[in-house]
């Protein structure tokens, strides 16, 4: 059903359309305003014409779903969305052009390539931590704030780890942009954050050499070439390209995601500390691989599907006892999750470990007998059930894990006694954020750290990106 074309002065969802700032094939972008002063705003209105590429429609829906879940300086702030009469999204209007405006200045200075790369990698790390993979990273989808922070825009092809992937089942072919799409996306994999690192590698290569590493193929069937044909090393195109930059770029462009940087954060770190980049054969490579290597990769790529997840290493003979002290009280969910992540990490390196999950029910000094009645017993059982629920995702066989609810007026003392009495090698526990009051009164974790008979790991949640 054709809708009336929006016009300046029209009010949609309480927002007044001021100026059409971009007229794209899939959406129109309007500068809008409303009574409440909340900074410059942008409204995205999809152009939903019958017979249109379904990607336009689904992509808009995906962005409507994902943008409200994102926060921080590296994305436009979500303001509002409308569904029925006129679909729209209103978001913060980021001033200035996208990085696409820089294309006529290419190639850039190498230090600037690294600087922009670090900013983009930092932004990617931020959205990855928020469960989102962009999957269409390219210069036109990146802007820089006045502060210099990179902002990622257009989440129409993005994937949120914890939400249904509305795009995955929609199309038969790969979804992305030919010059930037990663090898695994060509296999239909939309769940690997390292796909964004591949696209960033393409961008860095382009900005450093003024050439795209795999050209700008139009037809999707030509996209597959990158599965077996490695790019011309940047130093071949610009001999003065520093080895560390070539190392970083080519590592991003590895066909196997496992061979790339593990996280965008690691890449950002490297690009900010070039002198600490570990150089490999990639750093000084001067020509592309020979026919034989390419033919071998081509043969593998023919039948290649999703790479299997790496299996766990063989259990070690050593069997330390790890004690996780878990606070199950309301408001501690994030810390409990962070604690589980840390415990999982420790268990992965300590393959023979046993895990003791311990929770302390704090008794008040004046009612020591309250847990002897039925209600107390139920609370005890409920705590046990919650401990098991906490540990369940760790998938530890029952002979490797135990659960203990301690009752004490002195939680730190109870944990320390437990550790001492059970030959615990390593206590892992979470600590709330520090505050003047807590420093003054002391906290359970600081007391355990001070008095425990063994190693103590104190887990805190990372700080979110600050505005």
């Amino acid at each position: 059903m054709p809708r009336r074309r929006p016009e300046a002065g029209q009010v949609i969802g309480g927002f007044r359309l001021e100026e059409l700032v971009h007229e794209g094939g899939m959406a129109h972008l309007w500068r809008v305003s409303r009574a409440e002063a909340d900074g410059p705003l942008l409204m995205k209105i999809p152009m939903l014409r019958p017979g249109e590429d379904p990607a336009a429609i689904v992509g808009f829906e995906v962005e409507q779903m994902i943008l409200p879940r994102l926060s921080g300086v590296h994305v436009p702030r979500f303001v509002a969305a409308g569904d029925f009469d006129q679909p729209y999204i209103v978001m913060e209007h980021i001033a200035g052009p996208s990085l696409k405006a820089r294309l006529n200045e290419l190639p850039l200075r190498f230090d600037e390539v690294a600087d922009i790369g670090a900013r983009i990698a930092t932004a990617l790390h931020d959205i990855h931590r928020q469960h989102v993979i962009h999957l269409d990273l390219k210069p036109s989808n990146i802007m820089l704030r006045d502060s210099g922070k990179a902002v990622l825009i257009d989440f129409g092809l993005a994937r949120h780890d914890e939400l249904p992937d509305l795009l995955a089942e929609e199309f038969n072919g790969p979804i992305g942009t030919g010059a930037y799409i990663s090898p695994e996306q060509l296999h239909g994999i939309r769940s690997d954050p390292r796909s964004d690192l591949f696209a960033l590698g393409v961008l860095l290569y382009f900005f450093a050499t003024d050439e795209r590493p795999f050209g700008d193929p139009g037809a999707a069937r030509e996209w597959r070439r990158r599965l077996y044909r490695d790019p011309v090393p940047p130093r071949r195109r610009r001999p003065d390209c520093p080895p560390w930059l070539q190392e970083a770029i080519l590592r991003c462009l590895e066909v196997e995601a496992n061979d790339r940087y593990a996280t965008a954060g690691q890449l950002a770190f490297d690009l900010q500390h070039p002198e600490q980049i570990a150089l490999t054969e990639r750093a000084t490579r001067s020509r592309r691989d020979g026919t034989l290597a390419v033919a071998a990769r081509w043969y593998r790529a023919r039948g290649a599907a999703a790479a299997a997840r790496q299996s766990c290493a063989i259990q070690l003979a050593r069997a330390p006892i790890i004690m996780a002290a878990i606070d199950l009280s309301a408001g501690m969910e994030q810390l409990a999750e962070a604690l589980r992540v840390t415990v999982r990490r420790i268990l992965q390196t300590e393959q023979g470990a046993r895990l003791a999950c311990v929770n302390v029910m704090k008794l008040s000094r004046i009612a020591l007998d309250e847990f002897e009645d039925a209600e107390g017993r139920n609370r005890h059982l409920q705590r046990l059930a919650e401990l098991k629920h906490w540990a369940h995702p760790l998938e530890i066989p029952t002979n490797g894990i135990t659960y203990h609810v301690l009752e004490s007026v002195d939680p730190a003392g109870a944990l320390i006694d437990y550790a001492r009495n059970n030959n615990v090698d390593h206590i892992v526990m979470a600590a709330r954020g520090s505050s003047t009051l807590r420093r003054y009164l002391g906290s359970t974790s600081s007391e355990v750290v001070a008095n425990a008979p063994c190693t103590v790991t104190v887990v805190r949640t990372g700080q979110g990106a600050s505005h």
Binding site: Q64, P87, L166, L381, A385, H389
Partner: protein, 246 residues
């Protein structure tokens, strides 16, 4: 308004109590129950009385196949389920049986369908275990959103713009927007006998102000529920299933 959608309670008092306590603590204003109140578990009387109480206070309750089986003499179930149903028959009184006899097979409210098993043959009890069955069910109703149970494994199905149907295994505790631009079928996980290897009870939480659905997991006292199953003389496998979430 927050709406709790509970299904496949299967006479598990510990699980239902934990779910209702959780729902109450977060301010749930309405309850919808998608059937299978009895069978498998050891507390059919308490469970039916609790459901009667919820319905008296405005809850919607649907009939499930195990409930229907209590009232009929036919045997269409596997041996273990049949043993549990025959035991359950000896437990329920006339009032409780009468309540079950008056439960509807499906209820439509606005653009939402509530049904135990599927929309294409609600009294045939066919399972929605994959996109093909989800599609068949979506094609059998004009409602935009369907909520069902019966499978005991949570999954959210959605119709794509090109008419395909895809499934997604929900992440517990994450609200998922049910975009009005497409059709959805939510298989809610079981309260009283989860089968996705997670022993914690599951229920659906619909927020009609944001049009989003959250699959909630509620850990409960599995050991007591399993011990009661054994004490009642019901097949031991029913206790093991609770302990293992399968």
């Amino acid at each position: 308004m927050l709406i709790a959608i509970l299904t496949d309670i299967h006479a598990n008092r510990e699980a239902l109590s934990a779910c209702l306590a959780h729902a109450e603590s977060i301010g749930v204003a309405r309850y919808v129950l998608l059937g299978d109140y009895v069978g498998y578990g050891a507390d059919p009387r308490w469970t039916i009385d609790t459901v009667i109480g919820l319905v008296e206070r405005g809850a919607t309750a649907i009939l499930g196949n195990h409930d229907a089986e209590v009232l009929t003499a036919r045997s269409r179930m596997n041996e273990v389920a049949q043993i549990a149903i025959e035991w359950t028959r000896t437990q329920l009184d006339a009032t409780q049986r009468d309540f079950i006899g008056r439960l509807p097979l499906m209820v439509e409210q606005g653009d939402t369908l509530f049904v135990h098993a599927n929309a294409w043959a609600p009294d045939g009890w066919g399972y929605v275990t994959g996109p093909a069955e989800a599609r068949r069910s979506l094609e059998a109703t004009s409602c935009r959103v369907t909520f069902c149970g019966h499978v005991h494994v949570p999954e959210l199905y959605f119709a794509t713009a090109t008419g395909k149907v895809a499934g997604f295994i929900p992440v517990a505790g994450t609200p998922m927007p049910l975009s009005p631009q497409r059709r959805w079928l939510a298989v809610i996980g079981a309260v009283g006998q989860p089968r996705d290897r997670i022993p914690a009870a599951c229920y659906g939480l619909l927020d009609d102000s944001t049009n989003s659905l959250t699959y909630v997991r509620v850990p409960y006292d599995v050991e007591s529920a399993a011990a009661k199953v054994r004490a009642a003389g019901l097949p031991g496998i029913l206790a093991i299933r609770l302990e293992q979430g399968y």
